[in-house]
Symmetry: C2
Subunit: 239 residues, 2 copies
DNA sequence: ATTAGTTCTAGTCATTTTGACTATAACTAA
DNA sequence: TTAGTTATAGTCAAAATGACTAGAACTAAT
Protein backbone atom coordinates (compact mmCIF):
# COMPACT_ATOMS: atom_id res chain seq x y z
CA UNK A 1 0.00 0.00 0.00
CA UNK A 2 2.86 2.42 -0.63
CA UNK A 3 1.94 5.76 -2.13
CA UNK A 4 4.66 7.25 -4.26
CA UNK A 5 5.26 10.96 -4.69
CA UNK A 6 7.56 12.83 -7.01
CA UNK A 7 9.15 16.21 -6.42
CA UNK A 8 8.41 17.55 -9.89
CA UNK A 9 4.82 16.45 -9.80
CA UNK A 10 2.40 17.10 -12.59
CA UNK A 11 -1.11 18.32 -11.88
CA UNK A 12 -2.56 14.90 -11.29
CA UNK A 13 0.20 13.92 -8.90
CA UNK A 14 0.04 17.21 -7.06
CA UNK A 15 -3.28 16.38 -5.51
CA UNK A 16 -1.64 13.52 -3.70
CA UNK A 17 1.71 15.03 -2.90
CA UNK A 18 2.19 16.40 0.61
CA UNK A 19 2.84 20.13 0.86
CA UNK A 20 6.51 20.97 0.79
CA UNK A 21 8.07 22.58 3.82
CA UNK A 22 10.24 25.66 3.65
CA UNK A 23 11.90 27.93 6.20
CA UNK A 24 12.12 31.68 5.74
CA UNK A 25 13.45 34.47 7.91
CA UNK A 26 12.63 38.11 8.41
CA UNK A 27 15.84 39.76 9.54
CA UNK A 28 15.71 43.17 11.15
CA UNK A 29 18.62 45.46 11.80
CA UNK A 30 19.03 49.15 12.44
CA UNK A 31 20.81 51.32 9.94
CA UNK A 32 21.05 55.07 9.79
CA UNK A 33 18.51 56.57 7.43
CA UNK A 34 20.09 58.18 4.35
CA UNK A 35 18.08 61.31 4.88
CA UNK A 36 17.82 61.96 8.60
CA UNK A 37 20.69 59.84 9.81
CA UNK A 38 18.55 58.50 12.62
CA UNK A 39 18.42 54.74 12.99
CA UNK A 40 15.66 53.01 11.05
CA UNK A 41 14.65 49.41 10.48
CA UNK A 42 16.13 47.59 7.53
CA UNK A 43 15.92 44.04 6.31
CA UNK A 44 17.79 42.00 3.72
CA UNK A 45 15.97 40.47 0.76
CA UNK A 46 17.15 38.14 -1.95
CA UNK A 47 16.36 38.37 -5.63
CA UNK A 48 14.61 35.33 -7.02
CA UNK A 49 16.57 33.81 -9.84
CA UNK A 50 13.89 31.41 -11.01
CA UNK A 51 10.16 31.09 -11.42
CA UNK A 52 7.79 31.69 -9.82
CA UNK A 53 8.23 35.41 -9.17
CA UNK A 54 11.54 35.45 -11.02
CA UNK A 55 13.49 38.71 -10.50
CA UNK A 56 11.30 39.83 -7.61
CA UNK A 57 12.62 40.34 -4.11
CA UNK A 58 11.80 37.77 -1.47
CA UNK A 59 12.64 36.79 2.07
CA UNK A 60 15.69 34.60 2.49
CA UNK A 61 14.63 31.01 2.78
CA UNK A 62 14.91 27.49 1.57
CA UNK A 63 13.90 23.93 2.23
CA UNK A 64 14.24 22.29 5.60
CA UNK A 65 17.00 19.74 5.71
CA UNK A 66 16.47 16.39 7.30
CA UNK A 67 19.10 16.71 10.00
CA UNK A 68 18.46 20.18 11.31
CA UNK A 69 15.84 21.63 13.62
CA UNK A 70 13.58 24.41 12.43
CA UNK A 71 15.62 26.97 14.30
CA UNK A 72 18.88 25.61 12.95
CA UNK A 73 17.49 25.83 9.45
CA UNK A 74 16.54 29.46 9.98
CA UNK A 75 19.94 30.16 11.47
CA UNK A 76 21.75 28.52 8.60
CA UNK A 77 19.64 30.36 6.11
CA UNK A 78 20.47 33.63 7.68
CA UNK A 79 24.14 32.88 7.68
CA UNK A 80 24.17 31.70 4.08
CA UNK A 81 22.36 34.68 2.64
CA UNK A 82 23.74 37.48 4.75
CA UNK A 83 26.73 36.07 6.59
CA UNK A 84 25.08 37.12 9.82
CA UNK A 85 24.79 35.39 13.17
CA UNK A 86 21.60 36.61 14.78
CA UNK A 87 21.52 38.13 18.24
CA UNK A 88 17.91 37.07 18.56
CA UNK A 89 15.94 34.44 16.66
CA UNK A 90 12.36 33.43 17.25
CA UNK A 91 9.69 31.61 15.36
CA UNK A 92 7.16 33.96 13.85
CA UNK A 93 4.40 31.91 12.28
CA UNK A 94 3.69 29.00 9.99
CA UNK A 95 2.10 30.20 6.78
CA UNK A 96 0.17 27.52 4.98
CA UNK A 97 -2.47 29.09 2.76
CA UNK A 98 -3.42 27.03 -0.26
CA UNK A 99 -2.36 29.51 -2.91
CA UNK A 100 0.76 31.07 -1.51
CA UNK A 101 2.80 29.62 -4.33
CA UNK A 102 1.21 29.27 -7.74
CA UNK A 103 2.44 25.86 -8.82
CA UNK A 104 2.99 23.92 -5.68
CA UNK A 105 1.57 23.93 -2.18
CA UNK A 106 4.22 25.27 0.20
CA UNK A 107 4.03 25.59 3.96
CA UNK A 108 6.58 28.12 5.20
CA UNK A 109 7.69 28.24 8.77
CA UNK A 110 8.96 31.76 9.20
CA UNK A 111 11.42 32.99 11.78
CA UNK A 112 12.32 36.52 12.64
CA UNK A 113 15.71 37.73 13.75
CA UNK A 114 17.34 40.78 15.21
CA UNK A 115 20.99 41.53 14.50
CA UNK A 116 23.31 44.11 15.94
CA UNK A 117 24.18 47.13 13.81
CA UNK A 118 27.90 46.42 13.96
CA UNK A 119 27.27 43.02 12.43
CA UNK A 120 24.68 44.32 10.03
CA UNK A 121 27.17 46.85 8.72
CA UNK A 122 29.46 44.14 7.44
CA UNK A 123 26.71 41.92 6.10
CA UNK A 124 27.14 40.57 2.64
CA UNK A 125 25.46 42.57 -0.03
CA UNK A 126 25.53 41.66 -3.67
CA UNK A 127 23.61 41.77 -6.91
CA UNK A 128 21.09 39.35 -5.48
CA UNK A 129 21.13 40.31 -1.81
CA UNK A 130 20.21 43.82 -0.81
CA UNK A 131 18.94 45.66 2.27
CA UNK A 132 15.71 47.65 2.20
CA UNK A 133 13.95 49.95 4.60
CA UNK A 134 11.25 47.93 6.33
CA UNK A 135 8.69 50.69 5.94
CA UNK A 136 9.30 51.25 2.24
CA UNK A 137 9.08 47.86 0.61
CA UNK A 138 8.04 47.32 -2.96
CA UNK A 139 5.87 44.38 -3.92
CA UNK A 140 7.56 41.18 -2.89
CA UNK A 141 7.28 37.61 -4.11
CA UNK A 142 4.62 35.27 -2.73
CA UNK A 143 2.82 36.56 0.38
CA UNK A 144 6.03 38.03 1.72
CA UNK A 145 4.63 41.54 2.14
CA UNK A 146 2.04 40.18 4.52
CA UNK A 147 4.71 38.20 6.34
CA UNK A 148 6.88 41.27 6.84
CA UNK A 149 3.86 43.24 8.03
CA UNK A 150 3.14 40.59 10.59
CA UNK A 151 6.76 40.47 11.69
CA UNK A 152 6.72 44.22 12.16
CA UNK A 153 3.55 43.94 14.19
CA UNK A 154 5.17 41.33 16.41
CA UNK A 155 8.32 43.37 16.80
CA UNK A 156 6.33 46.44 17.89
CA UNK A 157 4.26 44.34 20.23
CA UNK A 158 7.22 42.66 21.86
CA UNK A 159 9.00 45.96 22.14
CA UNK A 160 6.08 47.49 24.03
CA UNK A 161 6.16 44.71 26.61
CA UNK A 162 9.31 42.65 26.64
CA UNK A 163 12.93 43.65 26.66
CA UNK A 164 13.82 43.05 23.09
CA UNK A 165 15.20 46.39 21.97
CA UNK A 166 18.66 45.59 23.30
CA UNK A 167 19.14 42.89 20.69
CA UNK A 168 19.22 45.59 18.06
CA UNK A 169 22.14 47.23 19.87
CA UNK A 170 25.70 46.27 20.63
CA UNK A 171 27.01 45.14 23.99
CA UNK A 172 27.29 48.66 25.38
CA UNK A 173 24.82 51.40 24.73
CA UNK A 174 23.50 54.66 26.06
CA UNK A 175 19.93 55.15 27.21
CA UNK A 176 19.42 57.57 24.35
CA UNK A 177 20.33 54.81 21.92
CA UNK A 178 17.75 52.56 23.48
CA UNK A 179 15.23 55.32 23.09
CA UNK A 180 16.16 55.72 19.45
CA UNK A 181 15.44 52.05 18.91
CA UNK A 182 12.01 52.43 20.44
CA UNK A 183 11.36 55.54 18.41
CA UNK A 184 12.42 53.85 15.19
CA UNK A 185 10.29 50.77 15.74
CA UNK A 186 7.24 52.43 17.26
CA UNK A 187 7.58 55.39 14.90
CA UNK A 188 6.92 58.11 17.43
CA UNK A 189 8.89 60.43 19.67
CA UNK A 190 9.33 59.57 23.32
CA UNK A 191 10.09 61.91 26.16
CA UNK A 192 13.78 61.40 27.02
CA UNK A 193 13.43 62.00 30.74
CA UNK A 194 10.40 59.78 31.26
CA UNK A 195 11.85 57.09 29.04
CA UNK A 196 15.05 56.87 31.02
CA UNK A 197 13.17 56.76 34.29
CA UNK A 198 11.05 53.90 33.08
CA UNK A 199 13.88 51.91 31.60
CA UNK A 200 16.14 52.39 34.60
CA UNK A 201 13.38 50.84 36.65
CA UNK A 202 13.83 47.48 34.95
CA UNK A 203 16.38 45.12 36.49
CA UNK A 204 17.61 43.85 33.14
CA UNK A 205 19.94 46.75 32.61
CA UNK A 206 23.19 47.54 34.34
CA UNK A 207 25.32 50.64 34.63
CA UNK A 208 28.90 50.45 33.54
CA UNK A 209 31.57 52.85 34.70
CA UNK A 210 32.17 53.90 31.12
CA UNK A 211 30.95 56.93 29.25
CA UNK A 212 30.56 57.43 25.55
CA UNK A 213 32.98 60.16 24.51
CA UNK A 214 33.01 62.08 21.28
CA UNK A 215 29.61 63.72 21.14
CA UNK A 216 29.40 67.47 21.25
CA UNK A 217 27.59 67.40 24.56
CA UNK A 218 27.76 65.87 28.00
CA UNK A 219 29.05 62.30 27.60
CA UNK A 220 26.33 59.79 28.39
CA UNK A 221 26.87 56.77 30.58
CA UNK A 222 27.11 53.36 28.94
CA UNK A 223 24.88 50.48 30.01
CA UNK A 224 24.87 46.76 29.51
CA UNK A 225 21.97 44.35 29.03
CA UNK A 226 21.94 41.55 31.57
CA UNK A 227 18.62 39.82 30.81
CA UNK A 228 18.00 36.70 28.81
CA UNK A 229 16.11 36.30 25.55
CA UNK A 230 13.86 33.78 27.36
CA UNK A 231 11.33 32.89 24.73
CA UNK A 232 9.38 30.18 23.05
CA UNK A 233 9.16 26.51 23.84
CA UNK A 234 12.36 25.60 22.02
CA UNK A 235 14.63 27.91 23.98
CA UNK A 236 13.15 27.15 27.33
CA UNK A 237 15.58 24.56 28.56
CA UNK A 238 18.60 26.71 27.76
CA UNK A 239 18.64 29.62 30.20
CA UNK B 1 16.03 13.66 -12.06
CA UNK B 2 12.90 12.76 -10.13
CA UNK B 3 13.43 11.73 -6.54
CA UNK B 4 10.89 9.26 -5.33
CA UNK B 5 9.76 8.96 -1.72
CA UNK B 6 7.62 6.36 -0.08
CA UNK B 7 5.44 6.84 2.97
CA UNK B 8 6.64 3.70 4.70
CA UNK B 9 10.27 4.47 4.15
CA UNK B 10 13.07 2.32 5.46
CA UNK B 11 16.07 3.78 7.20
CA UNK B 12 18.02 4.50 4.07
CA UNK B 13 15.13 6.21 2.40
CA UNK B 14 14.33 8.21 5.47
CA UNK B 15 17.41 10.33 5.13
CA UNK B 16 16.07 11.62 1.85
CA UNK B 17 12.41 11.85 2.68
CA UNK B 18 11.06 15.26 3.64
CA UNK B 19 9.66 15.56 7.15
CA UNK B 20 5.98 14.80 7.30
CA UNK B 21 3.58 17.54 8.30
CA UNK B 22 0.91 17.09 10.93
CA UNK B 23 -1.62 19.35 12.60
CA UNK B 24 -2.50 19.05 16.28
CA UNK B 25 -4.75 21.05 18.56
CA UNK B 26 -4.79 21.89 22.23
CA UNK B 27 -8.44 22.42 23.14
CA UNK B 28 -9.29 24.21 26.35
CA UNK B 29 -12.67 24.37 28.00
CA UNK B 30 -13.92 25.10 31.47
CA UNK B 31 -15.60 22.41 33.48
CA UNK B 32 -16.53 22.42 37.13
CA UNK B 33 -13.96 20.71 39.29
CA UNK B 34 -15.21 17.48 40.83
CA UNK B 35 -14.01 18.56 44.25
CA UNK B 36 -14.59 22.31 44.59
CA UNK B 37 -17.16 22.78 41.86
CA UNK B 38 -15.35 25.88 40.70
CA UNK B 39 -14.52 26.06 37.01
CA UNK B 40 -11.18 24.63 36.00
CA UNK B 41 -9.37 24.09 32.73
CA UNK B 42 -9.88 20.80 30.93
CA UNK B 43 -8.74 19.48 27.60
CA UNK B 44 -9.63 16.46 25.49
CA UNK B 45 -7.03 13.86 24.60
CA UNK B 46 -7.19 10.86 22.34
CA UNK B 47 -5.79 7.43 23.05
CA UNK B 48 -3.23 6.28 20.53
CA UNK B 49 -4.28 3.03 18.92
CA UNK B 50 -1.00 2.31 17.17
CA UNK B 51 2.73 2.64 17.61
CA UNK B 52 4.59 4.73 18.47
CA UNK B 53 3.30 5.46 21.97
CA UNK B 54 0.45 2.98 21.57
CA UNK B 55 -2.18 3.26 24.35
CA UNK B 56 -0.84 6.58 25.60
CA UNK B 57 -2.87 9.76 25.53
CA UNK B 58 -2.07 12.38 22.94
CA UNK B 59 -3.34 15.63 21.51
CA UNK B 60 -5.91 15.30 18.74
CA UNK B 61 -4.21 15.61 15.41
CA UNK B 62 -3.54 14.20 12.02
CA UNK B 63 -1.97 14.86 8.68
CA UNK B 64 -2.58 18.01 6.71
CA UNK B 65 -4.76 17.42 3.68
CA UNK B 66 -3.85 18.90 0.38
CA UNK B 67 -6.96 21.04 -0.06
CA UNK B 68 -7.30 22.63 3.34
CA UNK B 69 -5.53 25.49 5.02
CA UNK B 70 -3.70 24.93 8.28
CA UNK B 71 -6.51 26.49 10.24
CA UNK B 72 -9.12 24.43 8.41
CA UNK B 73 -7.18 21.30 9.20
CA UNK B 74 -7.11 22.19 12.87
CA UNK B 75 -10.78 23.00 12.81
CA UNK B 76 -11.66 19.73 11.10
CA UNK B 77 -9.52 17.83 13.52
CA UNK B 78 -11.25 19.36 16.43
CA UNK B 79 -14.66 18.56 14.99
CA UNK B 80 -13.76 14.99 14.17
CA UNK B 81 -12.35 14.08 17.55
CA UNK B 82 -14.63 16.02 19.86
CA UNK B 83 -17.57 17.15 17.74
CA UNK B 84 -16.81 20.71 18.79
CA UNK B 85 -16.81 23.94 16.85
CA UNK B 86 -14.31 26.22 18.51
CA UNK B 87 -15.20 29.69 19.67
CA UNK B 88 -11.58 30.69 19.29
CA UNK B 89 -8.80 29.10 17.27
CA UNK B 90 -5.27 30.34 16.90
CA UNK B 91 -1.97 28.95 15.80
CA UNK B 92 0.28 28.10 18.72
CA UNK B 93 3.63 27.03 17.36
CA UNK B 94 5.34 24.78 14.87
CA UNK B 95 7.24 22.02 16.64
CA UNK B 96 9.96 20.51 14.53
CA UNK B 97 12.61 18.95 16.74
CA UNK B 98 14.51 16.09 15.19
CA UNK B 99 13.49 13.42 17.65
CA UNK B 100 9.91 14.22 18.46
CA UNK B 101 8.77 11.00 16.90
CA UNK B 102 11.01 7.95 17.17
CA UNK B 103 10.70 6.48 13.71
CA UNK B 104 9.99 9.35 11.41
CA UNK B 105 10.69 13.07 11.40
CA UNK B 106 7.43 14.91 11.99
CA UNK B 107 6.84 18.64 12.01
CA UNK B 108 3.64 19.46 13.88
CA UNK B 109 1.87 22.74 13.47
CA UNK B 110 -0.12 23.07 16.63
CA UNK B 111 -3.24 25.17 17.13
CA UNK B 112 -4.98 26.00 20.36
CA UNK B 113 -8.67 26.47 20.80
CA UNK B 114 -11.15 27.72 23.36
CA UNK B 115 -14.66 26.33 23.46
CA UNK B 116 -17.69 27.40 25.42
CA UNK B 117 -18.73 25.31 28.41
CA UNK B 118 -22.18 24.64 27.00
CA UNK B 119 -20.60 23.11 23.93
CA UNK B 120 -17.92 21.37 25.90
CA UNK B 121 -20.58 19.70 28.03
CA UNK B 122 -21.98 17.84 25.05
CA UNK B 123 -18.64 17.00 23.50
CA UNK B 124 -18.15 13.44 22.43
CA UNK B 125 -16.43 11.28 24.95
CA UNK B 126 -15.64 7.65 24.38
CA UNK B 127 -13.20 4.90 25.14
CA UNK B 128 -10.56 6.68 23.10
CA UNK B 129 -11.47 10.31 23.71
CA UNK B 130 -11.48 11.66 27.22
CA UNK B 131 -11.23 15.01 28.98
CA UNK B 132 -8.50 15.71 31.54
CA UNK B 133 -7.71 18.52 33.90
CA UNK B 134 -5.05 20.65 32.27
CA UNK B 135 -3.06 20.93 35.48
CA UNK B 136 -3.05 17.21 36.25
CA UNK B 137 -1.87 15.48 33.12
CA UNK B 138 -0.09 12.17 33.11
CA UNK B 139 2.76 11.53 30.74
CA UNK B 140 1.59 12.03 27.18
CA UNK B 141 2.82 10.70 23.87
CA UNK B 142 5.57 12.47 21.94
CA UNK B 143 6.45 15.93 23.26
CA UNK B 144 2.83 16.68 23.98
CA UNK B 145 3.38 17.55 27.63
CA UNK B 146 5.70 20.34 26.58
CA UNK B 147 3.19 21.47 23.99
CA UNK B 148 0.39 21.68 26.54
CA UNK B 149 2.68 23.56 28.90
CA UNK B 150 3.43 26.07 26.23
CA UNK B 151 -0.26 26.40 25.33
CA UNK B 152 -1.05 27.07 28.98
CA UNK B 153 1.67 29.68 29.09
CA UNK B 154 0.22 31.39 26.04
CA UNK B 155 -3.28 31.24 27.42
CA UNK B 156 -2.20 32.87 30.67
CA UNK B 157 -0.23 35.47 28.81
CA UNK B 158 -3.04 36.38 26.46
CA UNK B 159 -5.46 36.46 29.33
CA UNK B 160 -3.33 38.98 31.19
CA UNK B 161 -3.32 41.36 28.23
CA UNK B 162 -5.95 40.64 25.61
CA UNK B 163 -9.64 39.97 25.90
CA UNK B 164 -9.69 36.26 25.49
CA UNK B 165 -11.48 35.06 28.60
CA UNK B 166 -14.90 35.62 27.06
CA UNK B 167 -14.33 32.82 24.57
CA UNK B 168 -14.46 30.37 27.45
CA UNK B 169 -17.92 31.64 28.36
CA UNK B 170 -21.30 31.63 26.68
CA UNK B 171 -22.97 34.59 25.03
CA UNK B 172 -24.20 36.08 28.30
CA UNK B 173 -22.24 36.09 31.49
CA UNK B 174 -21.86 37.84 34.79
CA UNK B 175 -18.73 39.70 35.83
CA UNK B 176 -18.20 37.12 38.55
CA UNK B 177 -18.08 34.42 35.90
CA UNK B 178 -15.43 36.36 34.03
CA UNK B 179 -13.49 36.62 37.23
CA UNK B 180 -13.78 32.90 37.80
CA UNK B 181 -12.26 32.32 34.37
CA UNK B 182 -9.33 34.53 35.25
CA UNK B 183 -8.93 32.82 38.59
CA UNK B 184 -9.02 29.38 37.03
CA UNK B 185 -6.46 30.20 34.38
CA UNK B 186 -4.13 32.37 36.41
CA UNK B 187 -4.61 30.17 39.46
CA UNK B 188 -4.98 32.90 42.02
CA UNK B 189 -7.75 34.82 43.71
CA UNK B 190 -8.68 38.26 42.45
CA UNK B 191 -10.41 41.01 44.35
CA UNK B 192 -14.01 41.08 43.09
CA UNK B 193 -14.49 44.82 43.40
CA UNK B 194 -11.23 45.81 41.73
CA UNK B 195 -11.67 43.22 39.02
CA UNK B 196 -15.08 44.50 38.05
CA UNK B 197 -13.86 48.08 37.98
CA UNK B 198 -11.01 47.16 35.69
CA UNK B 199 -13.08 45.04 33.36
CA UNK B 200 -15.91 47.55 33.13
CA UNK B 201 -13.32 50.02 31.94
CA UNK B 202 -12.77 48.09 28.72
CA UNK B 203 -15.06 48.95 25.80
CA UNK B 204 -15.37 45.36 24.63
CA UNK B 205 -18.08 44.52 27.10
CA UNK B 206 -21.68 45.63 27.14
CA UNK B 207 -24.40 45.64 29.74
CA UNK B 208 -27.60 43.84 28.99
CA UNK B 209 -30.87 44.58 30.75
CA UNK B 210 -31.00 41.01 31.97
CA UNK B 211 -30.06 39.59 35.34
CA UNK B 212 -29.11 36.07 36.26
CA UNK B 213 -31.79 34.72 38.57
CA UNK B 214 -31.65 31.65 40.73
CA UNK B 215 -28.67 32.28 42.97
CA UNK B 216 -29.22 32.61 46.67
CA UNK B 217 -28.09 36.21 46.65
CA UNK B 218 -28.57 39.46 44.78
CA UNK B 219 -29.01 38.64 41.11
CA UNK B 220 -26.03 39.81 39.07
CA UNK B 221 -26.35 41.70 35.82
CA UNK B 222 -25.62 39.86 32.59
CA UNK B 223 -23.08 41.19 30.09
CA UNK B 224 -22.25 40.50 26.49
CA UNK B 225 -18.89 40.47 24.70
CA UNK B 226 -18.78 42.83 21.75
CA UNK B 227 -15.11 42.67 20.76
CA UNK B 228 -13.50 40.66 18.00
CA UNK B 229 -11.01 37.84 18.26
CA UNK B 230 -8.68 39.93 16.05
CA UNK B 231 -5.56 37.84 15.90
CA UNK B 232 -2.80 36.47 13.79
CA UNK B 233 -2.01 37.09 10.16
CA UNK B 234 -4.55 34.59 8.84
CA UNK B 235 -7.58 36.16 10.50
CA UNK B 236 -6.68 39.73 9.74
CA UNK B 237 -8.78 40.26 6.65
CA UNK B 238 -11.92 38.98 8.33
CA UNK B 239 -12.97 41.51 10.94
C1' DA C 1 38.09 83.05 28.23
C1' DT C 2 33.52 83.45 27.48
C1' DT C 3 29.38 82.19 25.50
C1' DA C 4 26.05 79.58 22.97
C1' DG C 5 24.44 75.08 21.73
C1' DT C 6 23.75 70.46 22.65
C1' DT C 7 22.31 66.36 25.21
C1' DC C 8 22.41 64.12 29.81
C1' DT C 9 20.33 63.61 34.05
C1' DA C 10 17.69 64.42 38.26
C1' DG C 11 13.79 66.16 39.89
C1' DT C 12 8.82 68.35 40.51
C1' DC C 13 3.89 68.14 40.04
C1' DA C 14 -0.63 66.88 38.53
C1' DT C 15 -3.16 63.01 36.70
C1' DT C 16 -4.21 58.27 36.20
C1' DT C 17 -4.04 53.59 37.60
C1' DT C 18 -3.76 50.08 41.06
C1' DG C 19 -4.54 47.50 45.42
C1' DA C 20 -6.73 47.10 49.88
C1' DC C 21 -10.67 47.91 51.94
C1' DT C 22 -15.66 49.57 53.53
C1' DA C 23 -20.47 49.87 53.07
C1' DT C 24 -24.85 49.30 51.12
C1' DA C 25 -28.07 46.66 47.92
C1' DA C 26 -30.71 42.74 46.74
C1' DC C 27 -31.65 38.43 46.77
C1' DT C 28 -32.56 33.32 49.43
C1' DA C 29 -33.12 30.34 53.33
C1' DA C 30 -34.12 29.59 58.01
C1' DT D 1 -37.69 38.91 60.69
C1' DT D 2 -33.09 37.68 60.52
C1' DA D 3 -28.88 35.62 58.96
C1' DG D 4 -26.19 34.44 54.97
C1' DT D 5 -24.67 35.34 50.53
C1' DT D 6 -22.89 37.81 46.53
C1' DA D 7 -23.39 42.29 43.80
C1' DT D 8 -22.06 46.77 43.35
C1' DA D 9 -20.44 51.44 44.37
C1' DG D 10 -17.30 53.99 46.61
C1' DT D 11 -13.07 55.61 49.55
C1' DC D 12 -8.21 56.14 50.32
C1' DA D 13 -3.31 55.56 49.99
C1' DA D 14 0.33 53.96 47.03
C1' DA D 15 2.33 53.49 42.65
C1' DA D 16 2.87 54.58 37.84
C1' DT D 17 2.61 57.91 34.12
C1' DG D 18 2.93 62.20 31.35
C1' DA D 19 4.28 67.01 30.95
C1' DC D 20 7.55 69.81 32.29
C1' DT D 21 11.81 72.46 34.67
C1' DA D 22 16.50 73.02 35.61
C1' DG D 23 21.17 72.19 36.41
C1' DA D 24 25.37 69.31 34.66
C1' DA D 25 28.85 68.40 31.34
C1' DC D 26 30.57 68.41 27.27
C1' DT D 27 31.89 70.94 22.23
C1' DA D 28 32.21 74.70 19.04
C1' DA D 29 32.15 79.41 17.99
C1' DT D 30 33.36 84.02 19.21
Amino acid sequence: MNTVYATSANVAERRLAPPSLAISTVIFALRPSETSGRPTLWLPLVRRIREPFKDMWALPGGPLQHDESLQDAASRNLRETTGLAPQYLEQLYAFGGLHRSPAQRVVSIVYWALVQPTEAALADESENVRWFRADRLAELAFDHNAIVDYALWRLRNKMAYGSIAYHLLGEFFTLAQVREVYEAVLDRQLDPANFRRQIKGTPEIEETGEYLQGGKHRPPRLYRFTGTPGLGPDNRSTP
